[in-house]
């Protein structure tokens, strides 16, 4: 698999996702935000975590309009895989690739902690390595992760099975306590209609080694690599 990791000024978790992809067996190329094209043969585009352009405006608002994003939109329109994590999810929402928006956390503070997610479905390129309904132990680190959308959008996401992950307890129960940022319907990540674009607030890339907290995040990257191989 060939992954292109987009680097915006202010991206800061690109190294973390590069490590996770490398461990899963992907080739990786970093792509600077001012580029107009993706490397030839790119299977997966990754928008990493961070504070693109400082995020002094709405998070992801400037990055969503960066030069490189035209190429990313074209890649997605061709059915190419796109993964946006944290700031990357915010950028996907701002770029029109995913619906809704990430508001400030309900407690108005940045929060960094371990977090269980319920895997809603395991028939997508991102989640084949997991079981449906499995609770995976990853982490969050964000100030604006409160997923918000209008009623119609929510209805469509739920009706078409486009919710990827929900905040849950260790047993996969979706509880109010587990939803610390206040997201609607406890949504932690969503897919595009064709299931080729995934945006998520939590960081699977930080849970890929036993020494550093655990390995529940690996499944996502392994799913992507095996999907690309099969394709």
């Amino acid at each position: 698999m060939k992954s292109a990791v987009i680097v915006f000024p202010g991206s800061n978790r690109e190294g973390d996702v590069v490590r996770a992809l490398r461990m899963a067996g992907s080739d990786i190329q970093k792509v600077w935000h001012a580029e107009t094209e993706l490397p030839k043969g790119t299977d997966l585009v990754v928008l990493p975590g961070g504070f693109s352009y400082g995020d002094y405006l709405r998070c992801g608002a400037i990055a969503g309009r960066a030069t490189v994003m035209d190429a990313v939109r074209a890649h997605a329109a061709r059915g190419g895989l796109v993964l946006g994590i944290c700031n990357g999810f915010q950028i996907l929402c701002e770029s029109g690739l995913l619906p809704g928006i990430l508001m400030r956390n309900a407690n108005l503070r940045f929060i960094c902690h371990r977090q269980f997610l319920k895997v809603e479905r395991n028939d997508t390129p991102f989640t084949k390595a997991y079981a449906q309904g499995q609770a995976i132990d990853v982490c969050v680190a964000h100030g604006e992760g409160n997923y918000t959308a209008d009623e119609e959008t929510l209805k469509r996401l739920e009706g078409e099975g486009l919710v990827a992950f929900r905040y849950s307890d260790a047993h996969g129960h979706v509880t109010a306590d587990a939803n610390r940022n206040g997201s609607m319907n406890s949504i932690a990540g969503i897919y595009s209609e064709k299931l080729n674009v995934l945006g998520m607030m939590p960081h699977p890339e930080n849970l890929v080694e036993d020494l550093v907290g655990g390995t529940d995040g690996r499944g996502l990257f392994e799913s992507l690599v095996s999907f690309a191989k099969a394709a």
Binding site: P9, G10, N12, R13, G15, D16, R19, A20, G49, G50, F51, Y53, G54, D55, Y56, R109, F110, I111, C112, H113, C139, A141, G143, H203, E205, N206, V208, E209, L211, V212, G213
Partner: protein, 736 residues
């Protein structure tokens, strides 16, 4: 001749924080009346913050050398060799005064400043820590300050992209008018790619890099060198504003430029901005510096030479480049969207010459600005000795179980989760031990090595006995690193004290320094960088003497480490180290008996080293993976923290007959560790300990869901955790 438009009156001199005799010395040095710009420059260089004029003669006594020390105090940060061609570069610095006036920006720029100190030397920052002290919880300002400082530290570090992995938070009425915000940064560089501030070569270009210069922070360093009064909030305009995004770009651009081989010398513009950075580069290299301020990128129009020289705008750097490499360097900075301007050159005149709008605004001898700063041997008196409190003389006002439950939920001992969850402690994917343990552990690159990091001091000990308190601060940092399996290598010290002009507080400073020096020497734990913050007082009320110690240790194999959490049922619990039941200055005496008094526990450095070396060897040989040192709250609090972290209870059955139980459980005797091991190997460990004279005794066994102290009602771990986790969130929500 230099034109002099502004009359230099005694009032103007006083406003610049210079004493009349200091001003006279300056006039004598330059042989004429200074210009306003020159007065500004000397006030920036000769204030306490930049010149160390009250502390310098005492700091000379600190041990700063070891075979692994590459660079001791005097540069932007200290540098130690950690093997494999890698160096660890680290320093801690205070931002107390600005944080009290404007907590978010004060704390944020404190983090920004210390990160810059580290990457100025060529290191990529890999971890950040902090040491925070606030006033009493009931003080009306405290919640606002806690909220702003924590958000500011998080806001800067999270965006910059460095994990904030450790720290210390505490409360005391003596910080009501003067909080402490000390930030520590740790970075990695190759030992052959370290950059220094010393300029070389005549006629080389001096380059300004980073953000533009504005009017923020003018006289910041002078403010940091004065005591506070009720009007201090009027000083808000002197607090700088941080831009972590610009700093992140500056980091990437600087590291890229350093790789290109264009950099001869580099200095960040921190306290006293352009003045201090330019003077230091020239003075260290025995060179003159000539600057043309017309070339300085400014954010505001009409800035005067005086304002540009004293601005403390953030995220700026000064470099001396190899001639002919300007274009290459400029291209790198423009790629990152940062300003780049050649603003001057090195000269052979040893003069510091400032030109603006075709006129010379300052022409000063550069060496003397630094070297001839006043040095004071200020009068000091030794702190009065406190009586030793006999364990038997302290009556227990409640049961031990009640006391423990109260302590785990008290402001100083409660969980600081509310604080550290606002810091991204997981970014970079190398955090092996997260906040909440004895020391944080971060993996070095992809391993196998790791660094153990901690910040420590017990201010009430320092107040009661500066010498023993200074020793204890170093010993505790050493102990915390040891408790996770690290070999302690070096420290950075952040010496927060009250006014040096009062002999009592000067005496505290002198005593603490002696204690720090003694412990550093005995434990092979040299000081490689540091910062002195004096005048921490408001309306004549000084802070507790608080020499915060930032310690760094090395794990050769980061996968072999220990943590505080109980991990298995039926492990034997062993106490390492001797217990006399020392209650003087203990948390028990203060928070349970309402008495903050007595002599603090002495630190026997020989025992300290022997006990610690023993514990570290147990961890490194794979025999022990569960260790916690005994500090505030003594043995009982250590046990409770181990139970809470592991969700496993314990039954304590053994205790000495000759001590009151509360003195045994809550005494703060030093040099002690609690370990938990497979019951089968406990006897071996006791035997090994006995063979080298390390006191070791089995106290009980892990298991169950409650902590059971001898003869006491069981306390469920759930109940302990509820009390431990509740206080700070409730307090910040206005409920406690």
């Amino acid at each position: 001749m230099i034109r002099n438009d502004v009359a230099i009156t005694p009032e103007l001199v006083k406003e610049h924080g210079l004493k009349p005799d200091e001003y006279d010395r300056f006039v004598q040095l330059i042989g004429r009346t200074p210009t306003l710009t020159e007065l500004g420059i000397v006030s920036a260089m000769w204030n306490e913050h930049c010149s160390y004029k009250s502390s310098r003669i005492h700091l000379r006594g600190l041990p700063t050398k070891a075979p692994w020390v590459i660079q001791g105090p005097g540069e932007n940060a200290g540098v130690i060799d950690i093997g494999d061609g890698l160096a660890c570069i680290f320093k801690m610095e205070s931002h107390n005064h600005p944080s009290f006036i404007e907590p978010y920006q004060g704390a944020a720029t404190g983090v920004g400043g210390i990160l810059r100190d580290v990457f100025t030397m060529g290191a990529r920052p890999i971890a950040s820590l902090n040491f925070l002290r606030f006033g009493e919880p009931d003080h009306p300002k405290t919640p606002h300050l806690v909220s702003g400082v924590v958000a500011g530290i998080g806001g800067y570090g999270n965006s910059f992209g460095v994990p904030t992995v450790g720290g210390s938070v505490g409360f005391h009425p003596r910080y009501n008018g003067n909080i402490l915000v000390n930030a520590m940064a740790v970075g990695l560089a190759r030992t052959d790619e370290i950059f220094y501030a010393k300029a070389t070569g005549v006629g080389n270009p001096i380059v300004y890099l980073g953000s533009k210069t504005g009017r923020d922070g003018i006289h910041g360093a002078t403010m940091a060198s004065a005591e506070f009064d009720d009007a201090s909030e009027e000083k808000r305009p002197t607090v700088q504003v941080g831009d972590p995004f610009a700093e992140k770009l500056l980091l990437e651009a600087c590291l890229e430029l350093m790789k290109s081989g264009a950099v001869i010398a580099i200095q960040d513009m921190g306290a006293a901005g352009l003045t201090s950075s330019a003077v230091e580069m020239g003075a260290k290299g025995n060179l003159g510096i000539e600057l043309d301020l017309d070339k300085v990128p400014c954010r505001e129009e009409g800035m005067t030479a005086y304002e540009m020289m004293l601005s403390e705008s953030q995220e700026r750097m000064l470099m001396v480049l190899k001639p002919g490499m300007e274009q290459q360097a400029e291209a790198i900075f423009h790629k990152w969207g940062l300003d780049f301007a050649v603003i001057g050159k090195t000269t052979d005149t040893l003069r510091f010459v400032i030109k603006h709008e075709g006129e010379v605004k300052a022409d000063l001898p550069i060496k003397e600005l630094g070297d001839e700063a006043p040095v004071y041997d200020r009068p000091w008196v030794e702190s009065p000795r406190q009586p030793v409190i006999a364990p038997g003389s302290v009556k227990a006002p409640m049961t031990e179980a009640e006391a423990l439950l109260k302590l785990v939920g008290s402001p100083d001992q409660c969980s600081k989760r509310w604080v550290w969850e606002q810091y991204d402690y997981l970014i970079l994917g190398n955090t092996v031990q997260t906040p909440g343990g004895d020391a944080a552990i971060v993996r070095v690159e992809d391993g196998p090595k790791g660094l153990a990091l901690t910040t420590d001091v017990t201010p009430r000990y320092c107040e009661a006995d500066p010498f023993e308190g200074g020793k204890q601060a170093v010993a505790e940092a050493w102990r915390n690193i040891t408790a996770v399996g690290g070999l302690p290598l070096a420290i950075t010290d952040n010496l927060n004290f009250a006014s040096p002009e009062r002999p009592e507080s000067m005496g505290q400073f002198v005593g603490c320094i002696k204690g720090i020096g003694e412990a550093c020497g005995a434990l092979d734990f040299p000081v490689v960088s540091g910062n002195v913050s004096l005048y921490n007082e408001t309306n004549g009320q000084g802070i507790l003497p608080t020499p915060a110690i930032g310690g760094v240790g090395l794990l050769d194999d980061v996968t072999v480490n220990a943590s505080v959490a109980f991990k298995r049922n039926e492990d034997a619990i062993i106490l390492i180290g001797a217990t006399q039941g020392w209650l003087g200055q203990s948390i028990y005496l203060r928070d349970i008996c309402g008495r903050e008094e007595g002599a603090p526990p002495p630190v026997d450095l020989v025992h300290e080293k022997r006990n610690g070396d023993f514990v570290r060897q147990l961890i490194r040989s794979g025999q022990v993976d569960t260790v916690h040192d005994c500090s505030d709250g003594g043995l009982a609090l250590a046990l409770a923290e181990m139970a809470m972290a592991g969700n496993i209870g314990a039954m304590i059955t053994a205790y000495p007959e000759n001590l009151p139980l509360h003195a045994f459980l809550f005494g703060e005797d030093q040099g002690r560790y609690v370990i938990a091991v497979d019951a089968d190997v406990a006897a071996d460990i006791l035997y090994e300990a006995g063979a080298i004279g390390v006191p070791a005794v089995v106290l009980g066994v892990t298991g169950g869901s409650s902590l059971i102290l001898p003869g006491e009602q069981a306390i469920s771990v759930k109940e302990l955790k509820a009390a431990h986790e509740a206080w700070l969130p409730d307090y910040m929500a206005g409920k406690a």
